[in-house]
Amino acid sequence: MSAANTSAGTAVKAPAAPGPASAQAPAPAPVRAARRPGRSKLGWNLLGLLVVLTAGFPVYWMVNTAFKPAKDAIDPDPHFFPSAFTLENFERALDIADFWGPVLRSLVVSLVVVVIGIAVGLLAALAISRFAFRGRKIVIVGILAVQMVPLVAMIIPVFLLLNDLGQYDKLSGLIITYLTFILPFTVWTLRGFIVNIPKELEEAAQVDGCTRTGAFIRVVFPLLAPGMVATSVYGFIQAWNEYLYALMLMSQQNQTATVWLGNFITKNGTEYAPMMAGSTMMAVPIVILFLLVQRKMAAGLTAGAVKG
């Protein structure tokens, strides 16, 4: 409340100030606008480029190391620009341990999680956004609260649970575990998308003779599709990137892609060039996917507390 008050307070003050000065008010603005682009923008731009260099350097260095000969990578004088181009680091990374097996397992897990998550999540999102019922608010608060449970803290009981159920080292066990952090987030984001679709559209369809389900399938569903795609892609990335549960719930023979890379780091940690090649293979597809959906997801994320 206090934030609203403060801004309201300033708002009250605001009209008073320009009142008497309104005649001159337009004058100073253009002058300042005209002066600014010349000198001070250059300074800001330089600062901005510094941010780009600092924040982008790790990514650049990964790609740079991945494509240069391994002996160049351990040259005491680092080469900032590639002088020779090679793919041998990628070959070495693929040689060290089975790469495609873990990638395939990660793909299966992530895709199944997303499909189930979207289907189950959509039903739940519809329930909390299009129906009024007793306990609705409790469900919403519950789903929000569930996202706040630190997953790291849950690893011990989840491990024991899957152990008891005979689901240790099974992809199905991992899938069901991942659902618990994909689902709340999916429900919450889809709810946001559904709420933004005017109910009048559905009602109009119903007036024209559609059933409620028919109205949903023909009217809401097409409008919801882009949101569902974005949510799916984001869920996919989350499942793909998960490390701790994949590490604990799967044995060495059934490791997923992130654990493959984690093992690479912990066991062959000194072979930096192949390690960067492996990292590049893991990261590039994910970053591209991420670039595609981030615009749509940035907002949903504030509510959906899923990362890390």
Binding site: V52, P76, I128, P157, W240
Partner: protein, 330 residues
């Protein structure tokens, strides 16, 4: 579209007017649609709630019971029944100086990471408003790339950047006059190593903060800033008395989320220390993991995890209150 809408909802509405985004369809809803029958919504919710109860609700209960039990290897393999240990696990950890050192380290680590993330995020978001279009586009691309990086990949990269012998950072620092860092091992001491890990966490966390704050900054009314300037406020004054109050709900939300994420840092430490974090690198997460899966004392591990959850409850409460206040949860 969603970005704009949801952020609008996050900025406090000027008066009691409901936030335009989610609330648009909601005010009339509860009354109107009640003809659908009370059973349908629960039917729709059933699969979701079942999964959550089974794999989140049950383990949560189990976590609590475990922390009051003696549970080791024999119990894991079923040779022995788990027996109640009363408060033993808790008295053991609470009386352990190492545990308190870990708690302090975790709190300092998380606090440092959150503060640096928020300050840097705010500065970059403000900077984004002042640079030319092409610089803005460049910054955005870089931010999204580092945001989307899988944590394990980011950890691998930082390990390489900070390598003692061939790391590019030591080489760059040695270029400074009078500095010789070649061969400097960043992970020889806990504080320095954790500072590197904090940098890694911050690098991954800043983009989300910047993108959300930038969206929020577009909601700050230009007239208010102009009025404050006419009233004689400097750049700092405008920021302190206009921008900051308008952004406060977003900042509270981002800070609480960051606290939760940064208290839960695990893979970064675990992988950076090759799967065996040294005592001076242990955070609550790795410490609990260590107790359970390395020492095979699942009871104590759970007790530590439970303490972590309890520590976070306060932060979660602030977050939930904020969500309820801004009316996103109507």
């Amino acid at each position: 579209m969603s970005a704009a809408d949801t952020t609008t909802a996050k900025v406090p509405p000027a008066r009691q007017s409901p936030p335009p985004g989610p609330a648009a369809g909601t005010p009339g809803k509860p009354g109107k649609k009640s003809n659908g029958g009370a059973g349908i919504p629960w039917l729709l919710l059933a699969p979701c709630l079942t999964v959550l109860l089974l794999v989140l609700g049950y383990p949560l209960v189990r976590l609590v019971t475990l922390s009051f039990q003696k549970f080791g290897q024999p119990q894991l393999w079923g040779f022995q029944e788990a027996e109640s240990a009363g408060l033993d696990n808790f008295t053991k950890i609470l009386g352990d100086a190492e545990f308190w050192a870990v708690v302090l380290r975790t709190v300092l680590f998380a606090a440092g990471a959150v503060v640096v993330t928020m300050v840097l995020g705010m500065l970059i978001a403000l900077l984004l408003q002042r640079v030319s279009g092409w610089v803005k586009a460049l910054i955005n691309i870089v931010l999204v790339a580092s945001w989307g990086m899988p944590i394990i990949v980011a950890t691998a990269i930082f390990k390489w950047l900070f390598d003692a012998d061939y790391g590019v950072l030591n080489w760059l620092l040695s270029k400074l006059p009078g500095v010789d860092m070649i061969g400097h091992n960043w992970f020889a001491s806990g504080p320095q190593g954790l500072a590197v890990i904090m940098l890694l966490v911050v690098w991954g966390a800043v983009p989300f903060v910047v993108i959300t704050l930038s969206a929020g900054l577009t909601q700050v009314p230009k007239e208010l800033e102009e009025a404050a300037r006419l009233d004689g406020a400097g750049a700092w004054g405008v920021f302190r008395f206009v921008t900051l109050p308008v952004l406060k709900p977003i900042i509270v939300m981002l800070t609480t989320l960051s606290v939760i994420w940064d208290m839960g840092v695990f893979p970064q430490v675990y992988v950076m220390r090759n799967g065996h974090p040294e005592p001076e690198f242990q955070l609550l997460t790795t410490y609990s993991f260590d107790r359970a899966f390395v020492v095979n004392d699942y009871g104590t591990g759970s007790a530590i995890a439970l303490v972590t959850v309890v520590l976070l409850l306060g932060v979660v409460a602030v977050y939930m209150r904020q969500m309820l206040k801004i009316g996103d949860v109507e």
